[in-house]
Structure formats: structure tokens, C-alpha cells
């Protein structure tokens, strides 16, 4: 066996997977996450780090285009699998493992791929390729120069939040971004890392009707939102707890759920640094927006986190929870994030809990 085969056999134990979730693929994604954890694989944050691209659920057309672009960004050796429903998770991942070991197929893939990066369709590149540079002609000699290196036009300048003129970068957040609501795309204009303009778009607006989900699954979805917010805030242990609770709720392990939830809430309460980190970020700075979103005017991201946890408890106790208007939530995102920097904007979006609201909306519509 050559070195390549030995490397392949060793490498496959530490596979990194990039999960892409279609709007109806939540259960498939959860099943995939569990299967990945059991195999000792890891979930990665960027296509550059990924060996396997997993598409959970059934994507619409726009999402397929985006996934194809992300697929192009995976370095070899790469495998692409679809997991349309949760039962397929284990078998598809096993198939991925086998395909990862097929050294010759990957060599062939490497040969037939583009060897240099192409700069063409930039409007939809979700993971980067930004423009940079500014044009002040003044008395500088710039004759005979190519104004668009690599095919990307240079950026213009604009005033940012503090009145500094800085270059504008056009960045698209989503649809393939870790801990981001599936099916939502935010087209941002960044000055530095402050968002000065944002537009939101929902991919494939005609979402398929979902199966009626009980309160247990709704509670599990909320848990997932909590885990995403905790992971974005860097509290990885708490996020792991929330994910464990989510899995337990889905597996209908009812005995310990209430006590696990209590323990999670206690740990969140007793995390002073988390409170310091999230407690000063007000979700809604403009009181006019607050009413429609059922968010208190002075509520911080930390308050939202605790509110989400108490909503989970209400769902477990079968109390009726108010339905949230997901279209309004999504439409409010640009207003909420403009003027914030990228980190805080991500926290604010995560605190809105859009994925679970979208699922609830589909239930009552479909």
C-alpha cells in the first residue's frame, strides 16, 4: 500500500464535515450531527476545512446553486452526500467514508477540476472573495492600470457609523454559514466590520409543508436555537449541553428532560462572563421595532437567551406559546443589524430564534 492509501486510512478517522441545512432538513441535520459525533468526526466552519459536504433535506433551486458554489470551494479530496431524511444519516455517512477512501477517484477529481481560482460570479459567493481598494486619483500616477484585478472591481468608499470614510465590502451572509438560519440570506455592506446596509432575502420562498410537529419537537428546535446562540457566544460547553438536551427531547427521553433543562438554565444564570458578554447587547435599539417582534425594548441578548430557555420549559409543560410571525422577524433583521458590527449582528440574529419560528409557521400553514 502506498503512502497515499495509508494517509487515506488515517485521515478518514478525522473527517471534517460541512453541514448545509435546507429549510425542511432540520431533523436530518440533527440526525447527521449525532451520527458525526458518534464517528468521532468533526463539524467544520468553512468549506476550506471540509472533506465532506452534507446537504440535509431537500433544497430548492436557489439553495442548490449556492451549494454548488460551496462545493467548488472544497479542496480535494472531497465527497458530497445528500441526507434527505433522518433515517438516511448513518448509511450516507458510511458511504461518504467509503468514498473518501477511494484514492483514485479523488486523483481523477483533482485532475479535472479548475486549477486556478475563477473570479466570475461574485455576487453570490457566500464565503468571501471580497473587493478591496479605493480610488483616490489626486496627483498619483496610475496610468495604464487595470482597475479590476482578478476581475473584481475595486471597492468604493463610504462613511461608516462613526463618520470615517472606509471601503465598502459587499458580503453575503448565508445560506451556507454555521449557526445561521437556513434559507435566509443577508446581503450586507460592510465598512470595516460594521454593517452599514443590509437586505434580507428568503431563498426558495415556496417552502414545502412540514409534518405536524408536536410540542416536543418544537421544544427541541428551540433548544437548537439556544445551542446556536451559545456556540456563537463561545460558550462551547453550554452549547454542548443544549445540544444534548435537544437530542434527548427528540429521543423522547422524558424522564430527565425537565431536570436537564433546569440544570442548563442554572448554569446559564451562573455564568457571569456570559452575562457580561451578552448582557450589554440590546437586541432592539429602536423602540418602534420592538412591538411587532415581541421583544422588550430594553431586552439584551442574554435576556433573550433566558427567555428562550423558559419558552422551552413552557413547551415541556404543554403551556400554549404564542406563535411568532417569522416573516416579520426576517423582515426586521436588516433594521436590527444596521450599525452593528459583525459579531454583535450575528448574536442579535441568533437571539431572534428564526429557525424555530419558521418551522412553527410552516406547521400552521401546511
Amino acid at each position: 500500500m502506498g503512502v497515499t492509501h495509508v494517509l487515506a486510512r488515517l485521515a478518514v478517522h478525522a473527517t471534517h464535515v460541512l453541514l448545509v441545512e435546507a429549510p425542511d432538513g432540520w431533523r436530518a441535520r440533527v440526525a447527521a450531527e449525532q451520527a458525526i459525533a458518534e464517528r468521532g468526526w468533526r463539524i467544520c466552519l468553512a468549506p476550506a476545512d471540509a472533506d465532506v459536504l452534507v446537504l440535509c433535506g431537500t433544497p430548492g433551486q436557489e439553495l442548490t446553486v449556492a451549494v454548488d458554489q460551496v462545493w467548488e470551494q472544497l479542496p480535494g479530496p472531497r465527497v458530497r452526500v445528500d441526507i434527505p431524511s433522518p433515517q438516511d444519516a448513518v448509511s450516507r455517512l458510511e458511504e461518504a467514508r467509503r468514498r473518501l477512501m477511494a484514492v483514485d477517484a479523488h486523483a481523477e477529481d483533482a485532475r479535472t477540476r479548475a486549477q486556478t481560482p475563477r473570479g466570475a460570479e461574485h455576487a453570490d459567493m457566500d464565503m468571501g472573495d471580497m473587493h478591496h481598494g479605493d480610488m483616490h486619483h489626486g496627483d498619483m500616477d496610475m496610468g495604464g492600470m487595470d482597475m479590476a484585478p482578478g476581475g473584481i472591481p475595486l471597492a468604493g468608499g463610504a462613511d461608516d457609523r462613526d463618520g470615517l470614510e472606509m471601503d465598502e465590502l459587499t458580503v453575503q451572509l448565508g445560506p451556507v454559514l454555521p449557526y445561521w438560519p437556513p434559507g435566509v440570506v443577508l446581503h450586507c455592506t460592510l465598512n470595516g466590520d460594521v454593517l452599514t446596509r443590509a437586505e434580507v432575502r428568503v431563498l426558495d420562498a415556496a417552502a414545502p409543508a412540514a409534518v405536524n410537529t408536536g410540542t416536543r419537537e418544537a421544544a427541541a428546535r428551540r433548544c437548537d436555537d439556544v445551542a446556536a446562540l451559545l456556540a456563537l457566544a463561545g460558550a462551547s460547553d453550554l452549547a454542548a449541553d443544549a445540544r444534548r438536551l435537544r437530542n434527548a427531547l427528540l429521543a423522547d427521553d422524558s424522564a430527565r428532560n425537565a431536570s436537564d433543562l433546569d440544570r442548563l438554565e442554572r448554569r446559564i444564570h451562573r455564568a457571569p462572563l456570559l452575562r457580561w458578554s451578552l448582557g450589554r447587547v440590546r437586541v432592539v435599539r429602536d423602540p418602534a421595532l420592538a412591538d411587532g417582534l415581541s421583544v422588550g425594548p430594553g431586552e439584551s441578548v442574554f435576556d433573550r437567551l433566558l427567555a428562550m430557555v423558559s419558552t422551552i420549559r413552557d413547551m415541556l409543560n404543554d403551556s400554549v406559546n404564542g406563535k411568532r410571525d417569522v416573516a416579520q422577524l426576517v423582515a426586521a433583521v436588516p433594521g436590527l443589524v444596521t450599525g452593528l458590527d459583525l459579531a454583535v449582528a450575528r448574536l442579535v440574529v441568533a437571539s431572534l430564534g428564526i429557525p424555530s419560528a419558521a418551522a412553527a409557521a410552516r406547521v400552521t400553514d401546511g
Binding site: 500616477d141 487595470d146 457609523r161 462613526d162 452593528l340
Partner: protein, 189 residues
């Protein structure tokens, strides 16, 4: 110094001059900044070779830090070309050239016409102390006081240049408890 030491010293000098010149013919602002950083590091290494351990290493430390921050400002404010595009860093060619030539002639004349000490006396017992005395001598206290004053001046200058001052943050009568910032800082000041 030994022959190898001499050669290495001259090599560092050559690197310093060449990378300093490179600042003007690379085609990216980031590369210009880091070419300057290499130049400074080479000079710092030369100072190290002159038995000035602390001075040499401090030059390297400070210059790398400064170049890292300078890259941010060059790209942010000068609005010039951070991408790999051919660009010209030279403005006002005739005036700059004449100033450069005049400065070079003056400095070269100064170096060549100064009365350097003859022979090569052995270096003092503690070279660093000798260098410190020669540079600062009896004005050590003034030098020590100078640095906090400079830092205070820099901080004051930056605060004065802010878009939003105390009155925007704390209200007209400075009585607001929490500053009205778009994003609060960590200590609540």
C-alpha cells in the same frame, strides 16, 4: 568583530536598504508596509550585533508592532491600493527628488566630514550604560517623564478627534448614567 560577523552585519545593512527601497516599488500597500518592517528588523538585528541586546530587541519588537498597526491605517486611510495592482507610491516627483538629493548630500557630507575618533579603542566595560550616558547623560529624568507625557498627548489627540464626544455620549449636562454608545464597551465607561 570576526569576519563572519562583519559579513553578516553588512548583509543586514544591505537588506535594510533594499527592503526600504522596496517600499516604493512593490505594488501593494500591505507589501509596502511589511517591506518597511523587514527593513526595521534588519536594523534591529544590526543593533543586536553591536552588543546592544535590549535596544536591538526593542527595536524589533516596537517596529513589528508599529508596522502591524500602520498597515491597518495605510489601507484604511490612504485609500490606495491594497490589492495587487501596479501603483505608484511617489507623489510630486520633481520636488521629492530634489529634497531627497539635498538631504542625502547633507547627511553624507556630515558623515564624511565629522571628526571620527582615530584608531579603534576597545568598547567600554558596559556598552549599554556607556551608550545611555552618551545619549541622555544628565537628562535622564527628563527622558523618563517624557514618555508618559507623550502617551497622554497621543490619547488626548485621539479623544479630541473623535466624532462623538463626551456630550454626545453622556448628554448635554453629562448626567446620563450609561454612555449612549452604539455598542457599549466592557467596563461600562
Amino acid at each position: 568583530m570576526t569576519l563572519i560577523g562583519d559579513i553578516v552585519f553588512w548583509l543586514f545593512g544591505a537588506v535594510a536598504v533594499l527592503s526600504g527601497a522596496a517600499v516604493f516599488w512593490v505594488n501593494s500597500m500591505a507589501r509596502a508596509t511589511y517591506a518597511l518592517a523587514i527593513s526595521f528588523v534588519a536594523v534591529g538585528l544590526q543593533v543586536l550585533m553591536l552588543d546592544q541586546a535590549y535596544l536591538g530587541i526593542i527595536v524589533i519588537l516596537m517596529m513589528v508592532m508599529e508596522m502591524a498597526v500602520m498597515a491597518v491605517y495605510m489601507i484604511m486611510f490612504m485609500g490606495m491600493n491594497p490589492a495587487l495592482m501596479p501603483m505608484s507610491m511617489v507623489h510630486d516627483k520633481r520636488l521629492s527628488l530634489s529634497i531627497a538629493i539635498v538631504t542625502f548630500v547633507l547627511l553624507a557630507a556630515g558623515i564624511l566630514l565629522t571628526a571620527w575618533p582615530s584608531g579603534s579603542p576597545p568598547p567600554a566595560e558596559d556598552v549599554t550604560v556607556a551608550l545611555g550616558e552618551a545619549l541622555m547623560g544628565s537628562k535622564m529624568l527628563a527622558m523618563v517623564v517624557l514618555s508618559p507625557v507623550m502617551v497622554a498627548t497621543i490619547v488626548a489627540g485621539v479623544s479630541l478627534s473623535l466624532n462623538r464626544g463626551r456630550y454626545d455620549r453622556y448628554g448635554e449636562d453629562l448626567r446620563r448614567r450609561n454612555a449612549d454608545d452604539p455598542q457599549p464597551g466592557g467596563v461600562g465607561r
